[in-house]
Amino acid sequence: MNGLIALVAGVLFGFGLDLARMTDPERVLGFLDIAGTWDPTLVFVLAGAVVTTTIGFRLIGRGDSWFGGPMRLPQRSDIDRPLLLGAALFGAGWGLAGYCPGPGVAALVQGAADPFWFVGGLVLGMIIFARTPRRGSGATA
């Protein structure tokens, strides 16, 4: 059942990303380009997603999930150096090409070469991170 839930959630997520034009990196860059011809599309995507999720999470409450046992929520609240450095590196990459992870992966279905180069770098970066020894480890959001 957990697999079915994940599959359906993935389909909804991917459909929503494409419907919202998040899979168009030029539109995302247009949103980030506040000094140029600013494109406000992403404000509506984020607002729709955050408001819906806030209400949804509130309705779910804090009990067990339907099929997956206890909810696995990040517990940390400290602002540490890896959080800040990681967010800054991510922002730099996002601003460079206009892809964040979800839309980058979803854009693979367009059949063009560009998303494959991005996702190749993305996977490589994650593997490099996983293989790099480090002190402690952060919870995953």
Binding site: I5, V8, G10, V11, L12, F13, G14, F15, L17, D18, L19, A20, R21, D24, P25, E26, L32, D33, I34, D39, T41, V45, G48, V50, T53, T54, G56, F57, I60, D64, S65, M71, R72, I79, P82, L83, L84, G86, A87, A88, F90, W94, L96, A97, P101, G102, G104, V105, A106, A107, A112, D114, W117, G121, V123, L124, M126, I128, A130, A141
Partner: protein
């Protein structure tokens, strides 16, 4: 201003929110794409199955919308390969080090009123805005074309 379809943007956002709600309610998991992708790369085994299925669904959902509305998103081609690879590396390392991306911090984290996610979201949006300015209007204008 670029041509702008606020209804599709809002409806797409609502669907993303429903997906995140369904995954937490049904499986007790946060719909963070970088965490899900990083998870299949880092820990193969029984716990990888739901992550693979989510990613397969992500592709299927996007493909389904493309099939319904083939002109909605025009694929970008010819963006410099070095920039795509560099961006992928930065996003891959950055989201793992920072424990999340636009979905995990920007959607789920903000919805949980997580201070870590609020700070991370502010930082990655701000840095992205600065980088776009640098390569479109600032001293590096014309480098990424």
């Amino acid at each position: 201003m670029a041509e702008f379809d606020w209804f599709s943007a809002l409806a797409g956002g609502v669907m993303i929110g429903l997906a995140a709600t369904l995954l937490l309610a049904g499986s007790g998991r946060i719909a963070g794409i970088s965490g899900i992708l990083g998870g299949v790369l880092q820990r193969p085994g029984g716990d990888a199955l739901w992550r693979w299925l989510f990613l397969a669904g992500l592709l299927a959902g996007a493909a389904f919308h493309q099939w319904l509305d083939p002109t909605a998103v025009e694929a970008r081609t010819g963006f410099p390969v070095w920039a795509l690879l560099a961006a992928g590396l930065l996003v891959g390392i950055g989201t793992r080090l920072g424990s999340g991306c636009t979905s995990g911090h920007g959607v789920c984290g903000l919805a949980r009123f997580s201070p870590r996610s609020a700070v991370a979201t502010a930082v990655f949006v701000l840095v992205a805005v600065v980088v776009v300015w640098l390569v479109r209007h600032g001293p590096f204008a014309g480098v990424v074309t």
